[in-house]
């Protein structure tokens, strides 16, 4: 038994094991998005669920990102078939109302679903305080690099994506980011 050769060969095993240890501490499903920090992709989408006053917009109205420049925009992608979206629904509506008098705009975007289903779901969930738009052919969701729902993008007044939240959004997380954007950015007086 040639122990010298055995030991040298054994050394080659170490980096392999190191790689596996590295792998065990990382989640292969967690894929970072390249979008935060970049300009938010523009969209012009039609409202299908009006929301409630004072945040509401009429059905058929078009929400254009360009018009919201200067405000903080919270863009939330959801679907009626999405179980996890139920967790954040009430939270988002409440947070939206909290910022009603600030230059913050909440928009829901329907993902891979029909407006009828969406309206029905909102009714079942007790209403939504802000309007939701439909996204034909999922173009806008693809523009935002969506892997699934729910995903929430918080866009600063400068038009750059400040943060992306994957999974149900918590009130604390959203509030923290929105507050810091309001404090640092120069909020303009864009028409809601």
């Amino acid at each position: 038994m040639n122990w010298r050769r055995a030991s040298i060969a054994g050394l080659f095993v170490i980096p392999v094991l190191g790689l596996f240890i590295y792998g065990l501490s990382h989640d292969p499903h967690d894929i970072p998005s390249p979008l935060p920090g970049k300009p938010a992709p523009t969209f012009a989408l039609e409202v299908f669920a009006p929301g409630q006053p004072p945040l509401g917009r009429p059905i058929g109205d078009t929400v254009r990102l360009a018009e919201l420049r200067g405000q903080v925009v919270v863009l939330n992608f959801w679907a009626s078939w999405c179980l996890a979206c139920r967790d954040e629904h009430v939270t988002l509506s409440e947070v939206a109302r909290h910022y009603a008098d600030k230059p913050v705009h909440f928009v829901g975007s329907l993902y891979q679903d029909t407006p009828n289903n969406g309206r029905q779901w909102i009714a079942e969930m007790g209403g939504q305080s802000y309007p939701s738009v439909q996204d034909p052919h999922t173009r806008t969701a693809i523009d935002y690099g969506l892997y699934g729902v729910p995903e929430t993008f918080i866009i600063g007044p400068d038009g750059l994506i400040a943060h992306k939240i994957t999974g149900p959004a918590s009130a604390r997380a959203v509030a923290r980011i929105v507050d810091s954007l309001l404090a640092s950015g120069t909020p303009g007086k864009g028409a809601p």
């Binding site: 030991s7 392999v16 790689l19 792998g23 989640d27």
Partner: protein, 667 residues
């Protein structure tokens, strides 16, 4: 009660295993041959106890005993009996229990069939198998314990993963896979046993190892084909192989085992490649452990991935131990075992086998690198990348083509030396086959380079293999006056290894043609139809007759009744469906397929209007697709013929053992 029996059995087996592992080296060192029986007794005890645990689990599943954690996880009163039983291997803990059981079964078989073999190879091999069993037993009382007590006992459970309830192959693919995968522990045990007992210098252990490897290889081949078939029938995209990490994990040991089956023959005849063969056998086993580590640790995301948790760390420790001891063992003995033989000529079957090993090993390394590269790239660059089909196809196609060609040259060339006349007489005639297949490929419409190459090489190699049969049968006819059929059968029986191997080659040829034609000539159409509408793909027309829905005990089903029309008459009815399970938000599609000798018509229900007015159907036509499953069957047939035990086996043993070191083996 079931939980108690199961857990107790798994706990009690541990001291038996440990006793057995200790008994072997102690017995050999002290020269107490009778203590070996203690180790063999442990092997039997382990098998009986793990069988008891497995039986307890099956009883618990069938009686819906939700006080057992595994049953609470995968059981459901609504699930049909067949799927309830096979959910034994549907989730992590049950699959580990099944693995442990198959391993204990192999250990008993190894000991039983070799109980009269002199020397220390079998005792040491039993020790190795017990050591592997120890690892899985530790898992079963630790992180993979399926017998946790659930209290309060729930009235019902969620049932198995919906994807696993759709097809009968779910009852066939996993057992075959485990028999193949776990079976690779046996050659590994023999290899370690051979080194420890001093038999590695003789060639007898190679013959023994090779026989067991053929069996495991046969199971693994069948398992891979069955997995592809399941994927094709269930997943709805008309494909059968996505280079998913766990598909690759099952394929990697198959590649090295195939290489070993060939290079073992070189060792048997010429006493060469001994270190290389050790590497292959050890590598095959290491790859099986790596494969199961990848599936169960969660480090790579995959369709097959079981739940993650601490079990990954256990596997990491085990794989570390396996790699370190195996690598050290082979490297440490490499100078002693290095080839001292000679080759008579570079133009010989030996050289072809070397090339065969080269391409199979390169193939294995390519798939391994591709599978692990996302992890490596993330570690080095911090960026996530994907390595999928396009990479693997591009990099492996040249190797596959080379291997297909070699499969025709190897059988044709003689051992030792081929004269120039030999080369001409053996290598030129199969070119006719190549020509014929080239023409067929063009006529069929194959226009891509590798598709054409595969057809041509298969033509060449199939002709070469056929010719070997023809030459052998012709000789028998002349010598014995047999008719063709008898001559062929007797020929195969006279040299099962060789002619069984040629049949396995034919199986591979069918698979290669099936894969090539179904991907090169695949034709796809998607359309939204009202009842009465038709659509066509590749000249085949289908008509939507009706869209229907029905409730079943465990799911709701929506289906489309489609008629295949030919010249106005209905040739067949297909019913692609979507299955809605309460536990899953995505429906599970079940396509329906009409298979024919020339191709498959594959229908998948993609979408439908809830009012039943329209259905969106995807129709795919894949030429020669059934040849893949047929070829798989032929491969398995070849393995059975090749590996069928001959009565000569036992008499070989004592003669060769006498030549190894008697002092070391003194019992």
């Amino acid at each position: 009660m079931n939980g108690l029996v199961g857990r107790a059995a798994l706990l009690i087996t541990l001291p038996f295993i440990i006793l057995g592992i200790i008994a072997v080296p102690v017995a050999i060192k002290r020269g107490r041959r009778d203590w070996i029986a203690i180790a063999y007794g442990s092997v039997l005890a382990n098998f009986l106890l793990v069988s008891a645990a497995a039986a307890a689990m099956i009883v618990a599943l069938v009686t819906h005993d939700f006080s057992v954690s595994y049953v609470a996880q995968v059981g459901s009163r609504a699930t049909p009996l067949f799927y309830t039983i096979i959910s034994l291997w549907g989730a992590l803990e049950g699959s580990i229990l099944f693995w442990g059981w198959v391993l204990s079964l192999y250990a008993v078989a190894v000991v039983w069939f070799n109980r009269e073999r002199p020397g220390n190879l079998v005792p040491y091999s039993a020790m190795v198998l017990l050591a592997v069993s120890l690892f899985f037993s530790i898992l079963l009382i630790g992180p993979a314990n399926p017998f946790h007590v659930v209290f309060p006992v729930p009235p019902d459970g969620p049932g198995p993963n919906p994807l696993l309830q759709n097809h009968i192959l779910m009852g066939i693919h996993p057992p075959l896979l485990y028999l193949g995968y776990v079976g690779m522990s046996v050659p590994f045990a023999f290899a370690v046993g051979a080194v420890l007992s001093g038999e590695a210098e003789s060639n007898d252990w190679i013959r023994l190892t090779r026989n067991w490897t053929v069996a495991s290889w046969g199971f693994l081949s069948a398992a891979i084909i069955a997995g592809m078939w399941w994927s094709y029938d269930v997943l709805g995209w008309g494909g059968y192989w996505a280079w998913d990490p766990v598909e690759n994990a099952s394929f990697l040991p198959w590649l090295t085992a195939t290489a070993f089956l060939h290079s073992a023959m070189v060792q048997e005849r010429r006493s060469m490649l001994r270190v290389w063969n050790l590497n292959l056998v050890v590598g095959t086993f290491a790859l099986t452990i790596l494969g199961t580590f990848l599936t169960r640790s969660g480090i790579i995301s995959s369709v097959h991935a079981f739940t993650t948790g601490t079990i990954g760390y256990y596997f990491l420790v085990f794989i570390g131990l396996v790699l370190l001891t195996a690598v050290a063992m082979v490297a440490g003995n490499s100078d002693r075992l290095a080839t001292r033989g000679r080759l008579d000529s570079a133009a010989s079957r030996e050289t072809i086998f070397l090339l065969n090993n080269l391409f199979l090993t390169a193939f294995m390394l390519t798939v391994l690198v591709g599978t692990l590269f996302p992890l490596v790239a993330e570690a080095v660059r911090g960026v996530k990348v994907s390595v999928g089909g396009p990479f693997f196809n591009r990099m492996t196609l040249p190797m596959i083509a080379a291997l297909l060609f070699l499969m025709g040259v190897g059988p044709a060339l003689p051992w030792k030396v081929a004269s120039r006349a030999d080369l001409k007489e053996k290598l030129l005639p199969p070119l006719v086959g190549a020509g014929i297949m080239a023409v067929i490929a063009i006529v069929m419409g194959i226009r891509n380079f590798y598709g054409f190459l595969v057809f041509t090489f298969v033509g060449y190699s199939a002709a070469a293999n056929l010719r070997e049969y023809w030459i052998g049968a012709r000789a028998r006819r002349t010598a014995h006056g047999e008719n063709w059929a008898t001559a062929v059968v007797r020929l195969a029986a006279s040299n099962r290894r060789r002619y069984g191997g040629y049949i396995a080659h034919f199986g591979v040829f069918f698979v290669a043609l099936g894969i090539t034609a179904s991907s090169s000539l695949r034709s796809e159409r998607e359309a939204t139809l009202k009842p009465g509408d038709t659509m066509s793909v590749y000249g085949r027309t289908v008509r939507l007759k009706a869209l229907w829905g029905r409730e079943e005990k465990q799911r709701s089903v929506v289906g489309a009744t489609m008629e295949v029309i030919d010249n106005g008459t209905v040739r067949a009815t297909l019913e692609p469906r979507m299955n809605f399970y309460p536990t899953s938000q995505e429906p599970v599609p079940t396509p329906d397929v009409r298979s024919g000798v020339f191709g498959d018509l594959y229908l998948s229900l993609v979408a439908f209007r809830p009012d039943g007015s329209t259905a969106t159907v995807k129709a795919i036509y894949e030429p020669l697709l059934y040849w893949i499953w047929f070829g798989g069957g032929v491969v398995v047939l070849g393995a059975i013929i090749s590996g069928w035990p001959t009565t000569r086996r036992r008499s070989v043993v004592p003669v060769v053992i006498a030549s190894s070191n008697p002092a070391r083996d003194a019992a």
